[in-house]
């Protein structure tokens, strides 16, 4: 077995049923590979990693990996993660969410976790649809697309998850696609190394639901779409606005320094105890 896969097997729970639950060609499997490789690079022991998820296709991810894993209620993963991080700051807390999980039902928690700048990495797999429940439109379903609950066409406008994270105050925001799996490795590595609220948005595909309803083809064809519609941040800087019309940027969108919540709260403790003057 080659090194890359051998490494992945070190982190899988082999008493769980494989192949995993996701559809053939689902991007979550590709992203899981990147996640494991990036976690391995952090140097944290498995005991010190907590992987938290919400509900949906992504919610099923933690069960397959051998960390402290927590599968919470829909949209609330970040709130549980906040409690874990504050109660035991030495733990590395990583949250996996889908687009509905992160910015629909959990939208409020998402912007507040970013605003608070709590040291958590949020990994959001954005496939533009509620896959597990059968293809209903989500806050990231583009205008004009079909879903099982927008049978005539979606008349709502989509959230740009990364831009939302930047505006809400995340200190690191990166976007990649499952087609660019190696870029995902490096984005996650950078996000894990960052102290503060970091976000990695992963453009993925749901060929089973979204692709089928919008005639976008197979997983392969949807990955080709990702390849053809993404531009690196560096390249985009040299392109004209009209050239970028149907493109999205990938790479590091924001990387800035701000003190993380738990470090700030350490100050509060010192003020409270009177060991330091406010």
């Amino acid at each position: 077995m080659a090194e890359i896969t051998r490494l992945i097997h070190e982190y899988l729970r082999h008493d769980k049923k494989f192949p995993h639950v996701w559809c053939p060609g689902c991007g979550i499997g590709i992203m899981l590979g990147s996640l494991i490789r990036a976690i391995d690079k952090t140097g944290y022991s498995k005991d010190d990693i907590v992987l938290v998820s919400g509900i949906g296709c992504t919610g099923r991810l933690p069960v397959y990996v051998d960390f402290n894993t927590l599968h919470t209620t829909h949209g609330r993963a970040l709130t549980f993660a906040t409690g874990i991080k504050l109660a035991k700051p030495r733990l590395k807390v990583i949250v996996i969410m889908g687009d509905g999980d992160a910015v629909a039902i959990g939208g409020n928690h998402f912007i507040h976790a970013a605003r608070r700048n709590i040291d958590i990495t949020a990994i959001i797999v954005n496939n533009s649809v509620y896959g597990m429940t059968g293809g209903q439109y989500s806050p990231t379903t583009p205008y004009g697309m079909k879903s099982t609950t927008t049978p005539y066409s979606n008349v709502e406008h989509a959230f740009n998850i990364s831009e939302l994270a930047v505006t809400a105050g995340a200190v690191f925001v990166g976007r990649g696609t499952v087609f660019h799996a190696k870029l995902l490795d490096s984005l996650m590595e950078k996000a894990f190394a960052k102290v503060g609220f970091s976000v990695v948005e992963i453009i993925s595909h749901c060929h089973t639901q979204f692709g089928r309803l919008n005639r976008m083809g197979t997983a392969v064809e949807m990955m080709q779409w990702q390849r053809d519609h993404s531009v690196t941040v560096e390249k985009a800087a040299q392109m004209k606005t009209e050239e970028l019309k149907d493109k999205f940027k990938i790479g590091v969108l924001v990387d800035r320094e701000l003190p993380a919540y738990q470090d700030e709260y350490e100050k509060v403790r010192r003020w409270a105890k009177g060991t330091e003057k406010r």
């Binding site: 080659a2 097997h9 494989f18 192949p19 590709i30 590979g33 197979t218 080709q224 993404s230 560096e234």
Partner: protein
């Protein structure tokens, strides 16, 4: 003798059928058409000698069902291939 030497340097591709869901990603994005799909849609190694050990099939497999074991020569080809790629990830094969 020369023939045997050459064979040894070809990267070894393993496909773990029990985990493979025949999604076709590895085949579609193989830059050298080393892989092909059988009647069931499952991948198989059609032209092993074409493999340049780029590893993308392994990295992109959503089911951890394909591995590429690089041999000496193969690694050299891969290094060269990666050097030619201007950016990590983005200039991927298949592009």
């Amino acid at each position: 003798m020369a023939e045997a030497q050459k064979k040894k340097d070809i990267p070894h591709i393993d496909i773990y059928r029990a985990w493979c869901k025949a999604c076709g990603i590895c085949v579609a994005f193989c830059p050298t058409e080393t892989l092909a799909r059988d009647e069931g849609g499952y991948p198989y190694v059609k032209y092993p000698e074409k493999c340049i050990n780029c590893g993308w099939c392994e990295i992109r497999c959503p089911d951890f069902a394909i591995t590429v074991e690089g041999k000496k020569n193969g690694k050299k080809v891969r290094d060269q291939f990666e050097k030619e790629s201007p950016e990590k990830g983005t200039a991927a094969p298949g592009q």
